[in-house]
Amino acid sequence: MWNALFFYLFALIALGGGVLVITRRNAVHSALWLVVSLLGVAGEFLLLGAEFLFAVQIILYIGGVVLLILFVIMLVNLDQAARMRQFNRQWAIAGLCALVVGAEIAYFVWRGGPQAFQLATPVSAGPGEGNVEQLADVLFSRYLLPFEIASLLLLVAVIGSVVMAKKRS
């Protein structure tokens, strides 16, 4: 009961925040609503018993990504950041995408019937074993190769950004 309540609450926060992100005129406000939306997602992680993901979501997305977005908004154009208009010329395409995704979800809900609205119980961790350990085990054994490939990709991105930043000055 409580779980369901919190689930819908967090879902509402995530979705509401998302809607506000794309409707705000002010880019800084949008970024802040993105924070709210991400916090909602973090809450869902917590609800699923994935504390590690919860913390990492906050550290990386809010502490890292959104902060960088805010940086860019504030640095690129100091005076105009407040008055900047959104790029909302492609709303037709966006609407189409939303429609397709909505249709998909509606189809699955219709197929699932009343069960579609029931929450799955999270798989509980083994005794004496936390979420962190499980995640680490899986990452460093089963998914080692994808993990390393992903890190390589990030490394390339880091080096690339350094190179690009160097060229300019």
């Binding site: 002010n26 502490g63 890292g64 959104v66 902060l67 950041a81 962190v132």
Partner: protein, 395 residues
């Protein structure tokens, strides 16, 4: 009554309420301690007017802040201007909930406690950057950008230093980290043949940078950016930022103490014959000495004003009373654990103030250089070295 005390929510709630209620007072008195210490470094007296030796100064300051006119610049983004200090204060206080004051005395102990604290400090940056932006003025904006760049940079080194500690302790839970140190019979700062000390130093430097203290206080570099992101703030909102800043000093001190200096453990926790001297005699002597000094000051104050002398004597009596509590066997284990935790945090705060009295300020680019070119590689090396040594020792 028994049922209430034994309810699982009793202790967390009490501790939480005590933290929220006491914290502004504690922060205010840390400010007083800072002013007094700095004054001592700088051959002057510090606050002396309000109360005996400035003892009531923090209360006067708080009152002043509360009564000040709440100025919001006309061109500011009102909502965000209002909200930004709330973010900072809220995150700082949330992080408090995860500090283990003693084995039992804490609000929560979650299995990713350390990560949550880091997460809270990450969100706290938002309070600064938004506060600076919402004021809609150059100095705050520059200050906010500087400070968030600084915090993000030093969070990397800080995180890596924390990882060293976590690896050695084998847990992210704050309570378990301390328990691991009890089992390993060593404070983590001295573990791995001294290799952990490097991690501790990195932590110390990044911690000072994270709390925006001199020599890393660029965000509010008074001589350049007036007051950084806080320039346009006044009154209670400014007070909130101030509160958040001191809260984060205590929190980061608490994290350092928990991770590297054995948390609530007394020095040499496994040497049993030191139990009485360190857990009873030392705190008792500490408080009695403080009480003695208060009484002497009070005698000297008698010449000037009676109520000042009386207040000073009362302070002395209170200190002596706290010291005598250590003789009670009932309260003893928790009390001495709490004493050691707060004592170590106090040492950290003293160190931070001392640094402030000594060093000039870094320039922005130098700060970034130190963060990225020295601390981060060094921290990575420390992680690697400690992982290797730790593995070798385990097998």
């Amino acid at each position: 009554m028994q049922a209430i005390i034994e309810h699982p929510w009793f202790l967390p709630l009490t501790v939480g309420i005590v933290i929220i209620a006491l914290f502004p007072l504690v922060a205010a008195y840390i400010v007083l301690a800072e002013r007094k210490l700095l004054a001592d470094f700088q051959v002057r007296l510090g606050p002396m007017r309000v109360g005996p030796h400035g003892l009531l100064q923090p209360i006067a300051d708080a009152l002043k802040l509360l009564l000040k006119e709440d100025v919001i610049p006309a061109a500011a983004d009102r909502g965000l201007f209002w909200f930004a200090p709330v973010i900072s204060t809220w995150t700082a206080l949330t992080a408090f909930a995860l500090l283990p004051f003693t084995e039992q005395l804490h609000v929560v102990d979650v299995n990713v406690g350390l990560l949550v604290i880091v997460a809270m400090s990450a969100v706290g940056v938002l309070g600064i950057i938004i506060g600076g932006w919402a004021a809609n003025s150059h100095y705050p904006l520059l200050g906010a950008l500087r400070s968030s760049a600084q915090l993000v940079s030093y969070e990397v080194a800080l995180g890596l230093a924390l990882i060293c500690g976590v690896m050695s302790a084998g847990s992210l839970s704050m309570v378990e980290i301390v328990q691991a140190q009890l089992e390993r019979r060593v404070w983590l700062a001295f573990d791995n043949y001294g290799l952990m000390f490097i991690a501790f130093i990195i932590f110390l430097i990044s911690a000072i940078a994270e709390t925006n203290r001199l020599p890393f206080d660029l965000p509010e570099a008074e001589s350049e950016l007036v007051a950084g992101f806080m320039t346009e703030y006044s009154g209670l909102r400014w007070g909130l930022y101030f509160l958040a800043e001191y809260a984060s000093i205590i929190v980061i001190g608490g994290v350092g103490v928990t991770l590297f200096w054995g948390g609530w453990l007394r020095p040499f926790p496994n040497v049993s014959w030191l139990e009485v001297p360190l857990n009873v005699v030392f705190p008792l002597a500490f408080f009695l000495l403080a009480a003695l000094i208060s009484f002497r000051l009070s005698r000297r104050l008698l010449r000037f004003s009676r109520w000042r002398a009386l207040l000073m004597a009362a302070t002395g009596a209170a200190l002596a009373g706290v010291g005598l509590l250590f003789l009670l066997p009932v309260a003893h284990p928790t009390l001495s654990a709490l004493f050691w935790f707060l004592f170590k945090v106090g040492l950290f705060i003293y160190f931070v103030i001392w640094i402030r009295g000594t060093f000039p300020r870094f320039r922005y680019d130098q700060l970034m250089d130190i963060g990225w070119k020295y601390l981060v590689p060094l921290a990575m090396a420390a992680v690697l070295a400690n992982a290797l040594v730790g593995m070798l020792r385990a097998t």
